[in-house]
């Protein structure tokens, strides 16, 4: 299960998706909207995606995780549109025979999402709004053998 959606996220759906009789561990990560950032009082985050590519890249991310660690199943769902304070913007669930692989793959997934998936967040704060990441440049995906410019 690798998708983006404008509906609220439901953790239980991802847990059920990764549930596997071979698994002895399920890890989950939930990214939530925080009420402050860089000293600004945040009102909400507003997410936008290049949806078709984002879903393809999430599938690829899942395939990479399977090559790196012995995991059973992985699910990632990212929300789009406005996400209010405390609400989840992304949920990751990973099942594996043992906890080490489940923890490692879950951590890998959130780091890769932040680095390579074409999703953007606009922070709406008291007194303005800003596209996060626009002043800081951006790291390269790096896993593309052709080397991305």
């Amino acid at each position: 299960m690798f998708r983006v959606t404008d509906k609220p996220l439901v953790l239980q759906e991802l847990i059920e998706f990764v549930t596997d009789p071979e698994a002895g561990a399920i890890t989950t990560f939930i990214g939530t909207t925080r009420n402050n950032n860089d000293g600004r009082k945040v009102i909400a985050l507003d997410y936008e995606a290049y949806a078709e590519m984002a879903e393809k890249e999430l599938v690829r991310l899942g395939e990479e995780a399977k090559k790196k660690w012995p995991i059973c199943r992985m699910a990632i769902v990212h929300r789009l549109g406005p996400v209010q304070i405390t609400e989840p913007s992304v949920i990751i669930a990973v099942s594996a025979a043992h906890r080490e692989a489940a923890f490692a793959a879950c951590r890998f997934a959130i780091e890769e999402i932040k680095r390579t998936i074409p999703i953007w967040k606009k922070e709406v704060y008291e007194g303005g709004e800003i596209w996060i990441g626009t002043q800081t440049g951006q790291p390269l995906p790096g896993r593309d053998p052709r080397g991305v410019a």
Binding site: I110, I113, P118, G133
Partner: protein
């Protein structure tokens, strides 16, 4: 040949549109298209930001040669999560 350019996030706001179609000479690269697009949308360039490039939903380098009906996206710094 014609290619479709899609804009997202800060570039969509600065372009004022979500999509644009461009007529290009055969053999044009992503870098050349970026130059042309900036002339069409003078407010597009954001000083200091580093773009990535996608053609038909795959990351490519700026020397990638475009084909007719390609879908090209200039990807501003991603910030999902």
């Amino acid at each position: 040949m014609k290619v479709k350019v899609k804009f997202f996030a800060i570039l969509r706001e600065r372009a004022g549109v979500a999509e644009s179609t461009k007529d290009l000479r055969d053999g044009s690269t992503v870098a050349e298209l970026w130059g042309i697009i900036q002339r069409d949308f003078p407010k597009l360039a954001v000083p200091g930001i580093r773009l990535l490039y996608a053609v038909n939903q795959e990351y490519v380098t700026t020397d990638h040669v475009l084909k007719d009906s390609d879908e090209v996206v200039f990807i501003p710094p991603v910030s999902g999560g």
